[in-house]
Subunit: 318 residues, 2 copies
Protein backbone atom coordinates (compact mmCIF):
# COMPACT_ATOMS: atom_id res chain seq x y z
CA UNK A 1 0.00 0.00 0.00
CA UNK A 2 2.71 2.38 -1.02
CA UNK A 3 0.21 5.18 -1.54
CA UNK A 4 -1.36 4.91 1.93
CA UNK A 5 -1.04 7.62 4.50
CA UNK A 6 -1.12 7.09 8.26
CA UNK A 7 -1.93 9.78 10.78
CA UNK A 8 -0.79 9.21 14.35
CA UNK A 9 -1.98 11.26 17.33
CA UNK A 10 0.54 11.44 20.11
CA UNK A 11 1.16 12.93 23.51
CA UNK A 12 4.59 12.85 25.10
CA UNK A 13 6.77 9.98 26.26
CA UNK A 14 4.53 6.93 25.64
CA UNK A 15 3.22 8.22 22.33
CA UNK A 16 6.70 9.20 21.18
CA UNK A 17 7.88 5.60 21.51
CA UNK A 18 5.31 4.37 19.00
CA UNK A 19 5.86 7.47 16.85
CA UNK A 20 9.53 6.52 16.61
CA UNK A 21 8.56 2.98 15.63
CA UNK A 22 6.21 4.33 12.98
CA UNK A 23 8.96 6.54 11.62
CA UNK A 24 11.09 3.43 11.19
CA UNK A 25 8.25 1.31 9.82
CA UNK A 26 6.94 3.73 7.19
CA UNK A 27 8.49 5.88 4.47
CA UNK A 28 8.39 9.52 5.61
CA UNK A 29 5.81 10.46 2.97
CA UNK A 30 3.34 7.96 4.40
CA UNK A 31 3.36 9.25 7.95
CA UNK A 32 2.13 12.37 9.75
CA UNK A 33 2.49 12.71 13.49
CA UNK A 34 0.07 15.10 15.17
CA UNK A 35 1.15 16.13 18.63
CA UNK A 36 -0.87 17.39 21.57
CA UNK A 37 -0.23 21.03 22.45
CA UNK A 38 -2.80 21.20 25.25
CA UNK A 39 -0.03 20.95 27.81
CA UNK A 40 1.96 23.78 26.27
CA UNK A 41 2.52 26.63 28.67
CA UNK A 42 4.21 29.95 29.21
CA UNK A 43 6.87 29.72 31.86
CA UNK A 44 9.53 32.33 32.62
CA UNK A 45 8.27 34.14 29.54
CA UNK A 46 9.09 31.13 27.35
CA UNK A 47 6.65 29.16 25.24
CA UNK A 48 7.17 25.53 26.20
CA UNK A 49 5.66 22.67 24.16
CA UNK A 50 6.56 19.58 26.19
CA UNK A 51 4.93 16.97 23.95
CA UNK A 52 6.20 18.44 20.69
CA UNK A 53 9.69 18.51 22.14
CA UNK A 54 9.50 14.94 23.42
CA UNK A 55 8.38 13.63 20.03
CA UNK A 56 10.94 15.76 18.21
CA UNK A 57 13.83 14.79 20.48
CA UNK A 58 12.83 11.12 20.40
CA UNK A 59 12.71 10.99 16.61
CA UNK A 60 15.92 13.00 16.30
CA UNK A 61 17.69 10.57 18.61
CA UNK A 62 18.64 13.24 21.15
CA UNK A 63 16.10 12.42 23.87
CA UNK A 64 17.15 11.46 27.35
CA UNK A 65 16.85 7.67 27.32
CA UNK A 66 16.35 7.51 31.12
CA UNK A 67 13.42 9.89 31.46
CA UNK A 68 11.95 9.82 27.95
CA UNK A 69 11.63 13.62 28.07
CA UNK A 70 14.32 16.27 27.79
CA UNK A 71 17.71 15.94 26.15
CA UNK A 72 20.42 13.32 26.49
CA UNK A 73 23.70 14.48 28.10
CA UNK A 74 21.80 17.27 29.75
CA UNK A 75 23.16 19.73 32.31
CA UNK A 76 21.15 21.79 34.81
CA UNK A 77 23.19 24.90 35.46
CA UNK A 78 20.51 27.27 34.19
CA UNK A 79 18.01 25.76 36.62
CA UNK A 80 20.47 25.95 39.52
CA UNK A 81 21.19 29.57 38.68
CA UNK A 82 17.46 30.36 38.52
CA UNK A 83 17.23 29.09 42.08
CA UNK A 84 20.13 31.33 43.12
CA UNK A 85 18.38 34.44 41.83
CA UNK A 86 15.08 33.47 43.41
CA UNK A 87 13.28 32.68 40.15
CA UNK A 88 10.77 29.88 39.63
CA UNK A 89 12.59 26.60 39.21
CA UNK A 90 9.97 23.92 39.74
CA UNK A 91 9.82 23.05 36.04
CA UNK A 92 12.95 21.22 35.05
CA UNK A 93 14.48 22.99 32.08
CA UNK A 94 17.82 21.57 31.01
CA UNK A 95 20.53 23.73 29.49
CA UNK A 96 20.44 22.01 26.09
CA UNK A 97 16.64 21.77 26.04
CA UNK A 98 16.38 25.50 26.71
CA UNK A 99 17.71 26.38 23.27
CA UNK A 100 14.50 25.07 21.70
CA UNK A 101 12.27 27.03 24.09
CA UNK A 102 14.16 30.27 23.53
CA UNK A 103 14.23 29.88 19.75
CA UNK A 104 10.57 28.84 19.58
CA UNK A 105 9.51 31.75 21.76
CA UNK A 106 11.30 34.38 19.75
CA UNK A 107 9.97 33.03 16.46
CA UNK A 108 6.40 32.89 17.76
CA UNK A 109 6.79 36.48 18.99
CA UNK A 110 8.06 37.43 15.54
CA UNK A 111 4.79 36.14 14.11
CA UNK A 112 5.60 32.63 12.92
CA UNK A 113 2.98 29.97 13.62
CA UNK A 114 3.70 27.04 15.90
CA UNK A 115 3.53 24.82 12.80
CA UNK A 116 6.15 26.91 11.03
CA UNK A 117 8.45 27.00 14.04
CA UNK A 118 8.07 23.26 14.56
CA UNK A 119 8.84 22.53 10.90
CA UNK A 120 11.91 24.73 11.14
CA UNK A 121 13.15 23.01 14.29
CA UNK A 122 12.58 19.58 12.74
CA UNK A 123 14.54 20.56 9.64
CA UNK A 124 17.39 21.83 11.80
CA UNK A 125 17.38 18.51 13.67
CA UNK A 126 17.47 16.69 10.34
CA UNK A 127 14.04 15.16 10.88
CA UNK A 128 12.09 14.30 7.76
CA UNK A 129 8.90 12.82 9.19
CA UNK A 130 6.35 15.62 9.58
CA UNK A 131 5.83 16.39 13.27
CA UNK A 132 2.82 18.65 13.41
CA UNK A 133 1.22 20.52 16.30
CA UNK A 134 -2.47 19.74 16.63
CA UNK A 135 -3.27 23.43 16.28
CA UNK A 136 -1.62 26.81 15.86
CA UNK A 137 -4.25 28.20 18.20
CA UNK A 138 -3.83 28.37 21.93
CA UNK A 139 -5.48 25.37 23.59
CA UNK A 140 -4.76 24.72 27.26
CA UNK A 141 -5.58 21.62 29.25
CA UNK A 142 -7.04 22.63 32.59
CA UNK A 143 -7.20 19.97 35.28
CA UNK A 144 -10.26 20.27 37.51
CA UNK A 145 -9.46 19.10 41.01
CA UNK A 146 -11.09 18.99 44.41
CA UNK A 147 -9.13 22.11 45.27
CA UNK A 148 -9.99 24.04 42.09
CA UNK A 149 -8.63 24.30 38.57
CA UNK A 150 -4.96 23.91 37.75
CA UNK A 151 -3.01 24.52 34.55
CA UNK A 152 -1.80 21.16 33.34
CA UNK A 153 1.90 21.64 34.11
CA UNK A 154 1.06 22.98 37.55
CA UNK A 155 -0.92 19.82 38.20
CA UNK A 156 1.54 17.51 36.50
CA UNK A 157 4.94 18.86 37.50
CA UNK A 158 4.56 21.37 40.30
CA UNK A 159 1.92 19.41 42.23
CA UNK A 160 3.25 16.02 41.03
CA UNK A 161 -0.28 14.85 40.14
CA UNK A 162 -1.22 14.83 43.83
CA UNK A 163 -4.58 16.68 43.65
CA UNK A 164 -7.67 14.50 43.16
CA UNK A 165 -8.95 15.02 39.63
CA UNK A 166 -12.64 15.63 38.98
CA UNK A 167 -12.43 16.46 35.28
CA UNK A 168 -10.67 18.29 32.49
CA UNK A 169 -11.43 21.11 30.14
CA UNK A 170 -9.53 22.34 27.10
CA UNK A 171 -9.49 26.09 27.20
CA UNK A 172 -9.59 27.59 23.73
CA UNK A 173 -10.38 24.30 22.00
CA UNK A 174 -13.89 25.39 21.03
CA UNK A 175 -12.54 28.21 18.87
CA UNK A 176 -9.35 26.48 17.73
CA UNK A 177 -8.72 25.21 14.22
CA UNK A 178 -6.57 22.16 13.50
CA UNK A 179 -3.16 23.12 12.16
CA UNK A 180 -3.09 23.42 8.35
CA UNK A 181 -1.11 20.19 7.85
CA UNK A 182 -3.40 18.30 10.24
CA UNK A 183 -6.46 19.51 8.39
CA UNK A 184 -4.91 18.71 5.02
CA UNK A 185 -4.14 15.17 6.16
CA UNK A 186 -7.67 14.64 7.46
CA UNK A 187 -8.90 15.57 3.96
CA UNK A 188 -6.31 13.52 2.11
CA UNK A 189 -7.93 10.71 0.11
CA UNK A 190 -4.81 8.60 0.73
CA UNK A 191 -5.48 8.60 4.49
CA UNK A 192 -5.70 4.95 5.43
CA UNK A 193 -6.03 5.04 9.22
CA UNK A 194 -5.84 7.25 12.26
CA UNK A 195 -3.61 5.77 14.95
CA UNK A 196 -4.00 6.76 18.59
CA UNK A 197 -0.62 6.26 20.20
CA UNK A 198 -0.42 4.75 23.71
CA UNK A 199 -0.84 8.16 25.33
CA UNK A 200 -3.11 9.27 28.15
CA UNK A 201 -6.61 9.59 26.61
CA UNK A 202 -7.72 12.32 29.01
CA UNK A 203 -4.82 14.74 28.77
CA UNK A 204 -2.84 13.75 25.66
CA UNK A 205 -5.39 12.59 23.07
CA UNK A 206 -8.57 14.38 24.16
CA UNK A 207 -7.15 17.88 23.67
CA UNK A 208 -6.62 16.95 20.00
CA UNK A 209 -10.07 15.40 19.66
CA UNK A 210 -11.65 18.44 21.33
CA UNK A 211 -11.01 20.70 18.35
CA UNK A 212 -14.47 21.01 16.73
CA UNK A 213 -13.25 20.53 13.17
CA UNK A 214 -11.43 17.36 14.24
CA UNK A 215 -14.56 16.05 15.97
CA UNK A 216 -16.63 16.72 12.84
CA UNK A 217 -14.14 15.16 10.44
CA UNK A 218 -13.74 12.04 12.58
CA UNK A 219 -17.51 11.59 12.94
CA UNK A 220 -17.75 11.50 9.13
CA UNK A 221 -14.58 9.49 8.56
CA UNK A 222 -14.03 6.87 5.89
CA UNK A 223 -10.95 5.39 7.61
CA UNK A 224 -10.65 3.38 10.82
CA UNK A 225 -9.33 4.63 14.13
CA UNK A 226 -6.95 2.22 15.81
CA UNK A 227 -5.75 2.81 19.36
CA UNK A 228 -2.83 1.23 21.16
CA UNK A 229 -3.58 0.85 24.86
CA UNK A 230 -1.38 2.76 27.30
CA UNK A 231 -2.24 0.23 30.03
CA UNK A 232 -0.49 -3.09 30.60
CA UNK A 233 -1.42 -5.57 33.31
CA UNK A 234 -3.54 -3.14 35.29
CA UNK A 235 -0.98 -0.36 35.27
CA UNK A 236 -0.45 2.70 33.12
CA UNK A 237 2.95 2.34 31.51
CA UNK A 238 3.73 5.92 32.53
CA UNK A 239 2.18 8.94 34.22
CA UNK A 240 -1.00 9.60 36.17
CA UNK A 241 -3.46 7.66 33.98
CA UNK A 242 -4.04 4.90 36.56
CA UNK A 243 -4.62 7.46 39.30
CA UNK A 244 -6.99 9.43 37.07
CA UNK A 245 -9.04 6.31 36.25
CA UNK A 246 -9.20 5.47 39.96
CA UNK A 247 -10.43 8.97 40.76
CA UNK A 248 -13.24 8.43 38.24
CA UNK A 249 -14.11 5.23 40.08
CA UNK A 250 -12.87 3.11 37.19
CA UNK A 251 -10.46 0.17 37.25
CA UNK A 252 -7.12 0.69 35.54
CA UNK A 253 -7.37 -1.68 32.61
CA UNK A 254 -7.43 -1.63 28.82
CA UNK A 255 -11.20 -2.20 28.70
CA UNK A 256 -11.73 1.28 30.12
CA UNK A 257 -9.55 2.84 27.45
CA UNK A 258 -11.34 1.01 24.62
CA UNK A 259 -14.74 1.91 26.09
CA UNK A 260 -13.75 5.53 26.60
CA UNK A 261 -12.92 5.99 22.90
CA UNK A 262 -15.65 3.69 21.59
CA UNK A 263 -18.47 5.42 23.49
CA UNK A 264 -17.79 8.53 21.43
CA UNK A 265 -17.58 6.57 18.19
CA UNK A 266 -13.84 7.08 17.99
CA UNK A 267 -12.56 3.51 17.90
CA UNK A 268 -12.58 0.73 15.33
CA UNK A 269 -9.57 -1.34 16.27
CA UNK A 270 -7.79 -1.77 19.60
CA UNK A 271 -4.34 -3.11 20.31
CA UNK A 272 -3.55 -4.18 23.85
CA UNK A 273 -0.93 -6.18 25.65
CA UNK A 274 -0.83 -9.93 25.27
CA UNK A 275 -0.61 -10.32 29.06
CA UNK A 276 -4.13 -8.85 29.16
CA UNK A 277 -5.47 -11.47 26.73
CA UNK A 278 -8.25 -12.33 29.21
CA UNK A 279 -9.80 -8.90 28.56
CA UNK A 280 -10.25 -9.60 24.84
CA UNK A 281 -13.89 -10.78 25.00
CA UNK A 282 -14.92 -7.71 26.98
CA UNK A 283 -13.18 -5.37 24.49
CA UNK A 284 -14.55 -7.23 21.49
CA UNK A 285 -18.02 -6.98 23.03
CA UNK A 286 -17.78 -3.22 22.67
CA UNK A 287 -17.90 -3.77 18.91
CA UNK A 288 -14.21 -3.15 18.38
CA UNK A 289 -11.71 -5.31 16.45
CA UNK A 290 -8.94 -6.48 18.76
CA UNK A 291 -5.29 -7.37 18.47
CA UNK A 292 -3.19 -8.57 21.40
CA UNK A 293 0.58 -8.32 21.21
CA UNK A 294 3.52 -7.22 23.30
CA UNK A 295 2.94 -3.46 23.73
CA UNK A 296 5.73 -2.69 26.19
CA UNK A 297 8.37 -0.90 24.12
CA UNK A 298 11.80 -1.14 25.64
CA UNK A 299 14.03 -1.27 22.61
CA UNK A 300 13.89 0.36 19.19
CA UNK A 301 13.12 -3.05 17.76
CA UNK A 302 10.07 -3.31 20.12
CA UNK A 303 8.88 0.05 18.82
CA UNK A 304 9.35 -0.80 15.18
CA UNK A 305 7.71 -4.21 15.54
CA UNK A 306 4.67 -2.77 17.36
CA UNK A 307 4.46 -0.03 14.72
CA UNK A 308 4.48 -2.61 11.91
CA UNK A 309 1.83 -4.67 13.68
CA UNK A 310 -0.29 -1.57 14.22
CA UNK A 311 -0.07 -0.64 10.54
CA UNK A 312 -0.86 -4.18 9.43
CA UNK A 313 -3.85 -4.37 11.80
CA UNK A 314 -5.13 -0.97 10.60
CA UNK A 315 -4.72 -2.04 6.95
CA UNK A 316 -6.65 -5.22 7.69
CA UNK A 317 -9.65 -3.47 9.19
CA UNK A 318 -9.60 -0.51 6.82
CA UNK B 1 33.52 61.91 56.15
CA UNK B 2 30.99 59.33 57.20
CA UNK B 3 28.14 61.30 55.68
CA UNK B 4 29.70 61.58 52.21
CA UNK B 5 28.24 59.87 49.21
CA UNK B 6 30.19 58.73 46.15
CA UNK B 7 28.71 58.08 42.78
CA UNK B 8 30.67 55.87 40.39
CA UNK B 9 29.90 55.54 36.68
CA UNK B 10 30.92 52.20 35.26
CA UNK B 11 30.93 50.15 32.10
CA UNK B 12 31.75 46.44 32.15
CA UNK B 13 34.92 44.58 33.04
CA UNK B 14 37.38 47.43 33.75
CA UNK B 15 34.85 49.54 35.59
CA UNK B 16 33.60 46.58 37.59
CA UNK B 17 37.08 46.06 39.04
CA UNK B 18 37.14 49.52 40.58
CA UNK B 19 33.48 49.22 41.55
CA UNK B 20 34.37 46.11 43.53
CA UNK B 21 37.21 47.99 45.21
CA UNK B 22 34.84 50.84 46.06
CA UNK B 23 32.35 48.39 47.54
CA UNK B 24 35.12 47.16 49.83
CA UNK B 25 36.44 50.64 50.60
CA UNK B 26 33.14 52.32 51.46
CA UNK B 27 30.14 51.47 53.63
CA UNK B 28 27.25 50.50 51.37
CA UNK B 29 25.25 53.62 52.25
CA UNK B 30 28.03 55.84 50.92
CA UNK B 31 28.26 54.33 47.46
CA UNK B 32 26.05 54.23 44.38
CA UNK B 33 27.22 52.52 41.21
CA UNK B 34 25.60 53.72 38.00
CA UNK B 35 26.05 51.31 35.13
CA UNK B 36 26.00 51.89 31.38
CA UNK B 37 23.04 50.32 29.62
CA UNK B 38 23.90 51.65 26.16
CA UNK B 39 25.23 48.26 25.20
CA UNK B 40 22.09 46.43 26.30
CA UNK B 41 20.46 44.55 23.48
CA UNK B 42 17.68 42.21 22.53
CA UNK B 43 19.03 38.87 21.41
CA UNK B 44 17.02 35.68 20.90
CA UNK B 45 14.09 37.59 22.38
CA UNK B 46 16.00 38.17 25.62
CA UNK B 47 16.90 41.51 27.13
CA UNK B 48 20.63 41.37 27.79
CA UNK B 49 22.40 43.99 29.93
CA UNK B 50 26.06 43.03 29.66
CA UNK B 51 27.53 45.80 31.82
CA UNK B 52 24.92 45.51 34.57
CA UNK B 53 25.55 41.79 34.72
CA UNK B 54 29.32 42.16 34.80
CA UNK B 55 29.14 44.63 37.69
CA UNK B 56 26.55 42.55 39.50
CA UNK B 57 28.43 39.27 39.07
CA UNK B 58 31.73 40.90 40.03
CA UNK B 59 30.36 42.37 43.24
CA UNK B 60 28.48 39.16 44.06
CA UNK B 61 31.69 37.16 43.66
CA UNK B 62 30.26 34.90 40.96
CA UNK B 63 32.01 36.43 37.92
CA UNK B 64 34.32 34.41 35.74
CA UNK B 65 37.79 35.41 36.97
CA UNK B 66 39.40 34.53 33.60
CA UNK B 67 37.26 36.66 31.33
CA UNK B 68 35.89 39.27 33.73
CA UNK B 69 32.44 38.80 32.16
CA UNK B 70 29.97 35.95 32.56
CA UNK B 71 29.74 33.50 35.41
CA UNK B 72 32.36 31.37 37.12
CA UNK B 73 32.06 27.58 36.64
CA UNK B 74 30.07 28.22 33.50
CA UNK B 75 28.89 25.62 31.00
CA UNK B 76 27.92 26.21 27.37
CA UNK B 77 25.40 23.53 26.52
CA UNK B 78 22.64 25.99 25.71
CA UNK B 79 24.89 27.70 23.18
CA UNK B 80 25.95 24.39 21.64
CA UNK B 81 22.32 23.35 21.36
CA UNK B 82 21.41 26.69 19.74
CA UNK B 83 23.97 25.87 17.09
CA UNK B 84 22.43 22.43 16.56
CA UNK B 85 19.01 23.92 15.86
CA UNK B 86 20.41 26.57 13.55
CA UNK B 87 19.79 29.52 15.88
CA UNK B 88 22.08 32.54 16.30
CA UNK B 89 24.96 31.61 18.55
CA UNK B 90 27.54 34.33 18.00
CA UNK B 91 26.87 35.93 21.38
CA UNK B 92 28.28 33.73 24.11
CA UNK B 93 25.51 33.05 26.61
CA UNK B 94 26.51 30.63 29.34
CA UNK B 95 24.02 28.27 30.95
CA UNK B 96 24.23 29.89 34.39
CA UNK B 97 24.32 33.42 33.01
CA UNK B 98 21.15 32.74 31.03
CA UNK B 99 19.02 32.57 34.16
CA UNK B 100 19.51 36.31 34.69
CA UNK B 101 18.58 37.16 31.08
CA UNK B 102 15.45 35.01 31.16
CA UNK B 103 14.31 36.36 34.54
CA UNK B 104 15.07 39.97 33.61
CA UNK B 105 13.24 39.64 30.30
CA UNK B 106 10.09 38.22 31.79
CA UNK B 107 9.98 40.85 34.53
CA UNK B 108 10.51 43.70 32.05
CA UNK B 109 7.71 42.24 29.91
CA UNK B 110 5.52 42.11 33.00
CA UNK B 111 6.03 45.86 33.38
CA UNK B 112 8.80 46.20 35.94
CA UNK B 113 11.43 48.84 35.23
CA UNK B 114 15.05 47.90 34.62
CA UNK B 115 15.86 49.58 37.97
CA UNK B 116 13.33 47.42 39.77
CA UNK B 117 14.51 44.22 38.10
CA UNK B 118 18.14 45.08 38.83
CA UNK B 119 17.38 45.80 42.49
CA UNK B 120 15.54 42.49 42.74
CA UNK B 121 18.43 40.55 41.16
CA UNK B 122 20.94 42.26 43.46
CA UNK B 123 18.87 41.38 46.51
CA UNK B 124 18.65 37.76 45.36
CA UNK B 125 22.44 37.73 44.95
CA UNK B 126 22.79 39.17 48.45
CA UNK B 127 24.30 42.41 47.16
CA UNK B 128 23.81 45.46 49.34
CA UNK B 129 25.63 48.16 47.37
CA UNK B 130 23.12 49.83 45.05
CA UNK B 131 23.85 48.86 41.44
CA UNK B 132 21.73 51.16 39.34
CA UNK B 133 21.12 51.24 35.58
CA UNK B 134 21.84 54.67 34.11
CA UNK B 135 18.28 54.84 32.80
CA UNK B 136 15.08 52.86 32.63
CA UNK B 137 14.66 54.19 29.12
CA UNK B 138 15.99 52.44 26.06
CA UNK B 139 19.33 53.93 25.04
CA UNK B 140 21.40 52.09 22.47
CA UNK B 141 25.02 52.69 21.53
CA UNK B 142 25.35 52.66 17.77
CA UNK B 143 28.84 52.36 16.35
CA UNK B 144 29.35 54.32 13.14
CA UNK B 145 31.83 52.57 10.90
CA UNK B 146 33.23 52.86 7.41
CA UNK B 147 30.76 50.17 6.39
CA UNK B 148 27.71 51.73 8.05
CA UNK B 149 26.12 51.69 11.48
CA UNK B 150 26.28 48.70 13.79
CA UNK B 151 24.53 47.93 17.05
CA UNK B 152 27.17 47.88 19.73
CA UNK B 153 27.14 44.13 20.38
CA UNK B 154 27.25 43.43 16.67
CA UNK B 155 30.35 45.59 16.42
CA UNK B 156 31.88 44.37 19.67
CA UNK B 157 31.13 40.65 19.71
CA UNK B 158 29.92 39.54 16.29
CA UNK B 159 32.41 41.64 14.30
CA UNK B 160 35.09 41.46 17.03
CA UNK B 161 35.68 45.25 16.77
CA UNK B 162 37.14 44.80 13.29
CA UNK B 163 35.26 47.60 11.47
CA UNK B 164 36.97 51.00 11.39
CA UNK B 165 35.06 53.33 13.70
CA UNK B 166 34.13 56.85 12.56
CA UNK B 167 31.89 57.79 15.49
CA UNK B 168 29.17 56.83 17.93
CA UNK B 169 25.63 57.83 18.65
CA UNK B 170 23.37 56.95 21.53
CA UNK B 171 19.98 56.18 20.15
CA UNK B 172 17.22 57.23 22.52
CA UNK B 173 19.54 59.18 24.84
CA UNK B 174 18.03 62.54 23.88
CA UNK B 175 14.64 61.55 25.24
CA UNK B 176 15.87 59.34 28.09
CA UNK B 177 15.67 60.24 31.76
CA UNK B 178 18.25 59.10 34.29
CA UNK B 179 16.95 56.26 36.45
CA UNK B 180 15.17 57.49 39.60
CA UNK B 181 18.00 56.44 41.94
CA UNK B 182 20.61 58.04 39.66
CA UNK B 183 18.67 61.30 39.59
CA UNK B 184 18.13 61.22 43.35
CA UNK B 185 21.85 60.75 43.93
CA UNK B 186 22.73 63.63 41.60
CA UNK B 187 20.47 65.81 43.77
CA UNK B 188 21.71 64.47 47.08
CA UNK B 189 23.46 67.18 49.12
CA UNK B 190 25.75 64.50 50.56
CA UNK B 191 27.20 63.78 47.11
CA UNK B 192 30.91 64.34 47.50
CA UNK B 193 32.31 63.27 44.12
CA UNK B 194 31.50 61.62 40.85
CA UNK B 195 33.98 58.90 39.97
CA UNK B 196 34.49 57.77 36.38
CA UNK B 197 35.69 54.19 36.55
CA UNK B 198 38.47 53.04 34.18
CA UNK B 199 35.97 52.24 31.44
CA UNK B 200 35.98 53.12 27.76
CA UNK B 201 34.98 56.80 27.57
CA UNK B 202 33.39 56.46 24.13
CA UNK B 203 31.16 53.45 24.65
CA UNK B 204 30.89 52.92 28.41
CA UNK B 205 30.86 56.38 30.00
CA UNK B 206 29.55 58.59 27.19
CA UNK B 207 26.17 56.82 26.94
CA UNK B 208 25.61 57.80 30.59
CA UNK B 209 26.80 61.36 30.05
CA UNK B 210 24.61 61.66 26.92
CA UNK B 211 21.37 61.72 28.92
CA UNK B 212 20.35 65.41 28.80
CA UNK B 213 19.40 65.65 32.48
CA UNK B 214 22.80 64.18 33.42
CA UNK B 215 24.59 66.67 31.16
CA UNK B 216 22.68 69.54 32.76
CA UNK B 217 23.26 68.42 36.32
CA UNK B 218 26.96 67.87 35.75
CA UNK B 219 27.39 71.26 34.11
CA UNK B 220 25.97 72.85 37.29
CA UNK B 221 27.69 70.53 39.73
CA UNK B 222 29.07 71.46 43.14
CA UNK B 223 31.20 68.31 43.41
CA UNK B 224 34.33 67.25 41.50
CA UNK B 225 34.52 64.63 38.79
CA UNK B 226 37.47 62.28 39.16
CA UNK B 227 38.37 59.82 36.42
CA UNK B 228 40.63 56.80 36.61
CA UNK B 229 42.41 56.25 33.31
CA UNK B 230 41.68 53.01 31.45
CA UNK B 231 45.06 53.30 29.68
CA UNK B 232 48.38 52.09 31.06
CA UNK B 233 51.70 52.45 29.24
CA UNK B 234 50.18 53.24 25.87
CA UNK B 235 47.70 50.37 25.95
CA UNK B 236 44.06 50.11 26.91
CA UNK B 237 43.86 47.62 29.76
CA UNK B 238 41.00 45.89 27.95
CA UNK B 239 38.84 46.16 24.86
CA UNK B 240 38.92 48.26 21.69
CA UNK B 241 39.76 51.65 23.24
CA UNK B 242 43.27 51.77 21.79
CA UNK B 243 42.00 50.86 18.35
CA UNK B 244 39.24 53.48 18.61
CA UNK B 245 41.73 56.20 19.56
CA UNK B 246 43.93 55.18 16.65
CA UNK B 247 41.01 55.40 14.26
CA UNK B 248 40.42 58.98 15.47
CA UNK B 249 44.06 59.70 14.69
CA UNK B 250 44.91 59.99 18.38
CA UNK B 251 47.69 58.28 20.31
CA UNK B 252 46.64 55.75 22.90
CA UNK B 253 47.65 57.45 26.12
CA UNK B 254 46.13 58.84 29.29
CA UNK B 255 46.48 62.43 28.12
CA UNK B 256 43.85 61.78 25.46
CA UNK B 257 41.42 60.45 28.05
CA UNK B 258 41.90 63.41 30.37
CA UNK B 259 41.56 65.84 27.46
CA UNK B 260 38.48 64.10 26.16
CA UNK B 261 36.62 64.56 29.46
CA UNK B 262 38.13 67.95 30.29
CA UNK B 263 37.21 69.55 26.96
CA UNK B 264 33.58 69.08 27.89
CA UNK B 265 34.08 70.41 31.40
CA UNK B 266 33.65 66.95 32.87
CA UNK B 267 36.94 66.46 34.70
CA UNK B 268 38.48 67.91 37.86
CA UNK B 269 40.86 65.19 38.98
CA UNK B 270 42.62 62.47 37.01
CA UNK B 271 44.24 59.29 38.26
CA UNK B 272 46.64 57.51 35.96
CA UNK B 273 49.28 54.84 36.16
CA UNK B 274 52.58 55.58 37.85
CA UNK B 275 54.43 54.09 34.86
CA UNK B 276 53.01 57.02 32.85
CA UNK B 277 54.40 59.60 35.29
CA UNK B 278 56.09 61.41 32.39
CA UNK B 279 52.64 62.43 31.11
CA UNK B 280 51.79 64.30 34.32
CA UNK B 281 52.84 67.82 33.16
CA UNK B 282 50.78 67.46 30.01
CA UNK B 283 47.70 66.33 31.98
CA UNK B 284 48.16 69.00 34.64
CA UNK B 285 48.43 71.57 31.87
CA UNK B 286 44.84 70.78 30.95
CA UNK B 287 43.86 72.30 34.27
CA UNK B 288 43.20 69.03 35.99
CA UNK B 289 44.49 67.80 39.36
CA UNK B 290 46.56 64.67 38.92
CA UNK B 291 47.39 61.60 40.92
CA UNK B 292 49.72 58.86 39.70
CA UNK B 293 49.53 55.43 41.27
CA UNK B 294 49.41 51.78 40.29
CA UNK B 295 46.13 51.46 38.37
CA UNK B 296 46.49 47.89 37.12
CA UNK B 297 44.09 45.87 39.29
CA UNK B 298 45.04 42.22 39.46
CA UNK B 299 44.03 41.27 42.98
CA UNK B 300 41.18 42.31 45.23
CA UNK B 301 43.71 44.16 47.33
CA UNK B 302 44.80 46.16 44.23
CA UNK B 303 41.17 47.11 43.68
CA UNK B 304 40.52 48.14 47.25
CA UNK B 305 43.74 50.14 47.46
CA UNK B 306 43.04 52.00 44.21
CA UNK B 307 39.47 52.63 45.42
CA UNK B 308 40.73 54.08 48.72
CA UNK B 309 43.25 56.26 46.89
CA UNK B 310 40.56 57.44 44.49
CA UNK B 311 38.25 58.39 47.36
CA UNK B 312 41.04 60.16 49.22
CA UNK B 313 42.05 62.08 46.08
CA UNK B 314 38.43 63.07 45.42
CA UNK B 315 37.98 64.18 49.04
CA UNK B 316 41.13 66.27 48.76
CA UNK B 317 40.04 68.18 45.69
CA UNK B 318 36.36 68.43 46.69
Amino acid sequence: MSNSLFLALSGGVGGAKLALGLAHALPQEQLRIIVNTGDDFEHLGLHISPDLDTVMYTLAGVANPETGWGRADESWNFLESLGQIGAENWFRLGDRDLAVHVERTQRLRAGESLSEVTARLCTALNLHVPIIPMSDFRVRTIVQTEGGELDFQHYFVRERCAPQVTGFRFEGAESAQPSPAFLATLSDPRLRALLLCPSNPFVSVDPILAIPEVTTRLAARSFPIVAVSPIVGGQAVKGPLGKMLGERGLPCDSVQIARYYKERGLLDGFIFDETDKKLEPEIAALGVKTFATRTVMTTLSDRTRLARETIAFAEKIA
